[in-house]
Amino acid sequence: MTQAAEHFTFDGHSVPLRAGQSLAAALTDAGLRRFRQTAKGAARGVFCGMGVCQDCLVTVDGVPNRRACMTAAAPGQQVLTQNPFPDLATAKVPLAAHPARVIAPDLLVVGGGAGGLSAAIAARAAGASVVILDERKVGGGQYFKQSAVSAPLDAQQAAGAELLAQALAAGAKLIGEVEIWGAFDGLLFLAEHKGAALVARPRAAIIATGAYERPEIRPGWTLPGVMTTGAAQTLWRSYRTLPGKRVAIVGSGPLNLQVGRELALGGAEVVMIAERGPAPWLRPLASAVLAFADPGLVLSGLRMLSDLRKRGAPVRHGTRLDRIDAEGSALRVTVTDGAKTTAVTADAVLMNAGFDPQNEILRLLGARANYDPAFGHLRVVRDERCATSVPGLYAVGDCAGLGGAPAAMAEGRIAGRAAAAELGFGDGYDVFADQRQLRRHRRFQRQLWALHDVAPRLPEVPDDTLICRCEEIDAGQIRQGLGERPGHAGTLKRATRVGMGRCQGRYCGLVAARLVAAATGMPVDERSYFAPRVPIKPVAISSILAAEEALKDGL
């Protein structure tokens, strides 16, 4: 680890930072985890680590409501705990780093992860001009998550660095720290870039915005120190920050095991991994099928388990989170296997109970989708070229429904070529090998997830457990709202305010749709969710003003 040379202040106290770190990482390194105060006086900190949950808000140099996980730490910054009601008279208006800018590439790729980078490379090879926009400063997306503070950590990061380099060498333009917040018919995208407006009018677009994590909604899931597994992974892989000394991991799926191992290797004490799914040796058939689909990956999975065991990290199968309680400055984590409960003490609790697609842009533009009951989320309808039901709009990777990084890359190559061909570049052929790989990756994914338990769930929690993090709406209020008039998730929202906060129902909205379906007996479909609306992420009024000035004459 490099020496900390510089400092910023948090509520007046000096906090060291390492070059490249996010504010969230530097604060976590310093043992600080309470970033904002809610309207009801509760403390919150990093949760999603990827700009979605809006719980890590802090005031930075007078500008309120900045996401600590998406904001770079800089020497001399004055950072304050975010008060829920900033004073308008003193709140600073964020300054734009540069004037508004309008781009019009042949192809716009939204998201620079496995899928987006692969798409950009393929489309560039065919001759289309390509711009990739990504909200993170560190490229590569979730799977190839790059380090912001050091050289690649392992083969996975090295492969990501290679893919990024390939995209740039091919002539794709990658603009980071760009948050797309609006998408409109005729393919108009509005975004914020370092406080300034960015407007894109491409001829075609490939959406590759990936997924976000599904939490375990249980008592205590909003406490500071409780975060998604991916948030901890980003802290470690991008910023070399451990989420805490003692770590407990709950939920289901391969990411939990992988991150548990990475953190253990990095020096954390992994006190427990609770996996909902039964032990693989209790399901020999499923394991054998998986081995058949991809023996290499099964081996690495088994190595993961044995590595974890070697480091004394107990993996409990068939076990789920019951509750989390604050215990001094630590967290007490209670899990149950149905028969008996066990409690451990940890500094950080990581949770991942599956993934949900970041499909907001696709839904906004009207792309059709079907509900996948096995994963409990929408799958965007696509043809064999990854084209959606909207002309000129393609979707690749996890944003169209969970598929994993290898599938995202194959889809990216297919969509990149197809979109370029549609615009008159190349012939769009030569997809046979990619299609075959894609089928294999998809088969593997199905079998992989059959070993875990990511079934969509209704929250079986006490009345006082929060369901909506932002508006602090608990299960009791939601049950009451459902009892009065079940109708639709939107009706429940208006009756209870569930989903009305800054994250726009990313977590509670999915639960609301499920609850309404259960109460009305209507199956979940694409219309069951809250209506998609701009902005898909909160956007600074100053940036809207700049976009309006840039477009005044040409909208």
Binding site: P64, F184, E484, A531, I541, I544
Partner: protein, 374 residues
């Protein structure tokens, strides 16, 4: 299906009409299509002074609006009564400020204020120094404003939820169905829905943009028109904006809710996607509306917009339509017209009185549906 009284449309007007009728002891049923009610999209501004947006867009309707000014004032007072009875709805009545940025706009407001005063509104012109005392957060270009003390704001989600609960308590039945038309049958008048036929002694039509189509078959041509509009809301800030803010020339309403969020709207168009799907937000409206708000109140520049939504407003000829149809005397119209959420409860009360035979219709000639005889 039989009931004494049938109310078509379950927005604020239909709900309040049903409530009054149920209170009078009638058996009431509401049939509502469950689509695009302005009531579930509206911003809860209690409008009383003439809206400049409206005066500009529909100059031919201005005389009708001006004549209705006392109705708006009484409507705001009706909301105060409901707030005490069924609330609280976070109702605040600090008044509305209509801002002027130039001398000509100031003159326009002065003229408007005189006309409104003559109709009994409590208005006053404020210069910049006076504004600094009550609204120091206004942009430096604002020269003055008209203050209308009758105006206010409330939280419509709260009000709607409370009123729905009140309907449940009174046993008002609510059915989801779309009425296609009214038919004269041998044993009386029925409303024909997609799912069922509804028979009633009297039918109250409070279906806003859907009203014109329902009565057309009876030979009445009420020009109700669906007008898709959108709204924006920010994250919360400490409450410092007490007034309802409007502009002398441009389309804007801005106010702060009791929970601190700032609601920005004012009638910017949304994209119509048919009656069964909510309208979509247009890029130009979103940028234009929020940018205008940021110019008038620069201090909100540090906040973020977290959501927009769009819904259906209803326009007709500028005045409310209240009363029995001359062509079918057992049909009572209850259409508020512009600023319909403000007017809805009062219009509903008047329509309920007509239905129950308690109000001499002569008082209401201005609002009679007879003016639309085809």
């Amino acid at each position: 299906m039989d009931s004494d009284l049938l109310v078509i449309g379950g927005g604020i007007t239909g709900m309040m009409a049903a409530l009054h009728l149920a209170e009078a002891g009638a058996r009431v049923r509401i049939v509502d299509a469950g689509e695009n009610a302005g009531t579930w999209a509206n911003a809860g501004s209690l409008h009383v002074q003439m809206q400049s947006r409206f005066m500009r867009l529909y100059p031919d309707q201005v005389p009708a609006v001006e004549a209705s000014l006392p109705l708006y004032k009484a409507a705001a007072e009706e909301w105060v009564r409901l707030d005490a009875l069924y609330g609280p709805f976070e109702l605040v009545r600090k008044g509305g400020l209509m801002l002027a940025e130039g001398a000509e706009q100031l003159r326009f407001l002065e003229g408007k204020a005189r006309r409104e005063e003559a109709r009994g509104l409590s208005v006053e012109m404020l210069d910049r120094a006076a504004l600094d005392g009550i609204a120091p957060w206004l942009g430096p270009q604002i020269l003055g404003a008209e203050l209308c003390r009758d105006e206010g704001k409330l939280n419509p989600l709260m009000a709607n939820a409370r009123l729905l609960a009140e309907l449940d308590r009174r046993g008002v039945a609510r059915v989801q169905d779309r009425i296609i038309g009214l038919e004269q049958q041998t044993n009386g008048l029925v409303a024909v829905g997609r799912a069922a036929v509804y028979r009633a002694d009297q039918i109250i039509i409070a279906s806003a943009w859907g009203a014109g189509d329902i009565v057309r078959g009876l030979g009445v041509d009420i020009p109700t028109k669906a007008e898709p509009l959108h709204m924006n809301i920010t994250e919360a800030a400490a409450v410092s904006i007490g007034h309802l803010i409007q502009h002398a020339e441009r389309s804007i309403t801005l106010k702060q809710l009791g929970q601190g969020q700032i609601v920005i709207g004012g009638g910017w168009p949304a994209q119509d996607r048919g009656r069964e799907t909510p309208p979509a937000v247009l890029a130009g409206s979103f940028l234009g509306n929020v940018a205008l708000a940021a110019r008038l109140v620069p201090q909100i520049g540090g906040l973020r917009v977290i959501r927009t939504w769009a819904g259906m407003n209803t326009t007709a000829d500028g005045a409310s339509t209240i009363g029995r149809l001359p062509q079918a005397s057992r049909v009572v119209m209850a259409l508020p017209g512009d600023a319909g959420y403000t007017l809805g409860p009062l219009v509903a009360k008047m329509a309920a009185a007509v239905t129950l035979g308690a109000m001499p219709e002569a008082d209401m000639v201005r609002y009679t549906p007879a003016r639309f005889a085809a």
